[in-house]
Assembly symmetry: C2
Homo-oligomer: 477 residues x 2
Amino acid sequence: MDKKIGFHMTVEEFRQQGRKVVDWIADYYQNIESFPVLSQVQPGQIRASLPTEPPFKGESFEAILQDVNRLILPGITHWQSPKFFAFFPANTSGPSILGELLSAGLGVQGMLWATSPACTELETHVLDWLAGMLVLPDKFKSNSRGGGVIQDSASSASLTALLAARERATAFQTNQQGSDGRLVAYTSTQAHSSIEKAVKIAGLGVKNLRLIEVDDRFAMQPEALARQIRLDRQTGLIPCFVSATAGTTSSNALDPLPEIGRICRQEELWFHVDGAMSGTAALCPEYRYILEGLELADSFCFNPHKWMFTNFDCDCFYVADRETLIHTLSILPEYLRNKASESGAVLDYRDWHIPLGRRFRSLKLWFVLRYYGIEGLQYHVRQHIKLAQTFAGWIQEDARFELAAPAPLNLVCFRYKGSDEQNQKLLERLNQSGDLYLTHTILKGGFTLRFCVGQTLTEERHVVQAWQKIQETAVSL
Amino acid sequence: MDKKIGFHMTVEEFRQQGRKVVDWIADYYQNIESFPVLSQVQPGQIRASLPTEPPFKGESFEAILQDVNRLILPGITHWQSPKFFAFFPANTSGPSILGELLSAGLGVQGMLWATSPACTELETHVLDWLAGMLVLPDKFKSNSRGGGVIQDSASSASLTALLAARERATAFQTNQQGSDGRLVAYTSTQAHSSIEKAVKIAGLGVKNLRLIEVDDRFAMQPEALARQIRLDRQTGLIPCFVSATAGTTSSNALDPLPEIGRICRQEELWFHVDGAMSGTAALCPEYRYILEGLELADSFCFNPHKWMFTNFDCDCFYVADRETLIHTLSILPEYLRNKASESGAVLDYRDWHIPLGRRFRSLKLWFVLRYYGIEGLQYHVRQHIKLAQTFAGWIQEDARFELAAPAPLNLVCFRYKGSDEQNQKLLERLNQSGDLYLTHTILKGGFTLRFCVGQTLTEERHVVQAWQKIQETAVSL
């Protein structure tokens, strides 16, 4: 890119424009509180502002960047706003953004060890670090029979776990012969929808997914699981997979992993633990209890792209037996053969997930771990949990509101003591104000508001302001 | 990020460090030709240089960036080097890198329209632009019954197409009841390994994948396909999916899409066309012929992250009937319900692929299309093809070498006229030199070198140097 080659950007232009984009992002974060959190555009509005046809002649980078302000920004829902309390966090950070930038600049493909050894080895290394930081069982580390890999999402991680479970249960014959409609998977009624999606994709069929009843705290009932497994075996079905959740999306319920794990060991089922958001809490010794029972699991995932200051995508997926996983997903066309792979001395991560290609995602994770240190990450996790707990306290002290579920960590489910319609109206008015963004769920049949604290920049004042706004708006109902 | 909050990077530090990373990348591209293309490290070498434990105290960003040079760079295989002729290109560009940076900075989740309308609408818009630029049939545009979406890879796109095919063939009953081992998929013996992987994942089983014979040019034989479909129907199986390739990975063979398409229409099979690398060539009218027959297809994909200056991941996947796709993959938990989705006025891309979460990938694609314009993209595609054709000419003129397959576009398969061992040795010596990077395949049983021209910075001099090196090294055999 040193001299002008054809239509490419020169190195000098890249330096100049790169600075402008860095400054654009810095300015964005300086002004982020001024934007309505939830985008206020109407369907079709963004498209209507864009030219129908692509340009024949190239345009200046300045013109493009100006259009980001003019055309794109109104259509952004500001996930990085400190006033974002919806869904789950997707928090990012300076070191992560710059790690992603560097990865894009290097532009390597990490499908095989040989196609960039650092991409594979740094990933293995950083996932081992994280296994230590979360005090995962040793079997999940790469110096045992297991190991970790970065997936795009917990959805893909769950699917990958299910596929390995399917193959283990059928001696790798489903890969060869196809499904036969007899394999059964289990999760709770409160589990993430990705398990249903995985069961469809993997050819088990929804009729072979058992949604196990939960207790009053929305946690899976182990006796119900054990009962259902027995029933299924009696009818000639083949139970193969249980997915438990450490912090459900809906209400942050913590499934009883030790009890579920013991059933899985006894029944020889693959035990997957989904800790997508809440797994991060285990960085702090006082919250490590949420992963108790993991020593009985076959696989585990959590998402630094949710609550560990690492931009999407970055799901960390661990297996206790990497050979089963690799055997499940491996393909070996001639054009990918190479000496290093055949030596057996290296890992080729293409066999650990669905896509073949993969970018250098461990770079940003490495940046985050080093920049914050264990100390920094623990500090911010504790801050978020403290703010959520403060908020939960306010809900409990105010007679007009009630908690709708236990709030063990950073998610508070609550209701205005009124009708579902009133709660729905409350949510809509809050979100339309642009002053904060919440989402909802249904718990025990009732419309419930979810308040999730986890954005990078959220401080006490944002939670205070949110609570004031909620109170004011409730008065207007 | 304005003032120091806990351990986060401040806005001012982000500005400073951001400039340093931009400069790092600029310097990297200025020096890129000085690195051995294929990393020369030994297995385990990178890991051995990293500290066993993560830091408790955070470190300075300067220290981290210095370690990229010291610890990471030796383990990089330089995909962006102009001397990279291996596998397929994964070319990137200044506008794309900066688009990725901006996307990381915004940090939005595009799983639903409402979670950032611009993320969905820009994607739909840019994919419609590209449909026009490649002269795709109108049915693939969003104003018809079809539409485009960005997937992470052609592997995922093929899997997604197969799943939709599976459900269409069984009236959406496989999702419910599970596979029954009777569905059959078809592709050629030369197709990408991702089709085999998809057939395993989707529960069809490899025994239900038919690898159809190819002709002398490595293109699928339509009569063999028709014959096999008849045979399978006779034995009570249910043919459902054909994947043809516009430019195979191994040798760039072009399957006869019109003939295959007619068979698929007649037999009512889902017809997927994989144009992962070569689809980009259709930007130029003189190469548009490679996609003739696409009007008979149900789905199509190509990868701007291969040969269109857009960094990974960015696969563009088109379907002619989006309702079938959405019906196949849709899940609707309460916590994702929202007014916009229920109005039916918007697309929610979470239902178009396997993961739920998705980042703002259309931003970089928009940057590339606008910065280069149609003119710029056409220019560079033509340059790459011209350079490959020049190289093919040299092979043909040199009595010591021979072409091993037709070279219609930017990939040249060739052999040194000698033993397989000699060709293998030639490949190893070339790659160990660090002066260029090639990979191989097997064609008609013979070890074959692949020379693929497509990196952003490759100019005539790099191809000339590569050819000189190949000749010199051949002499030493």
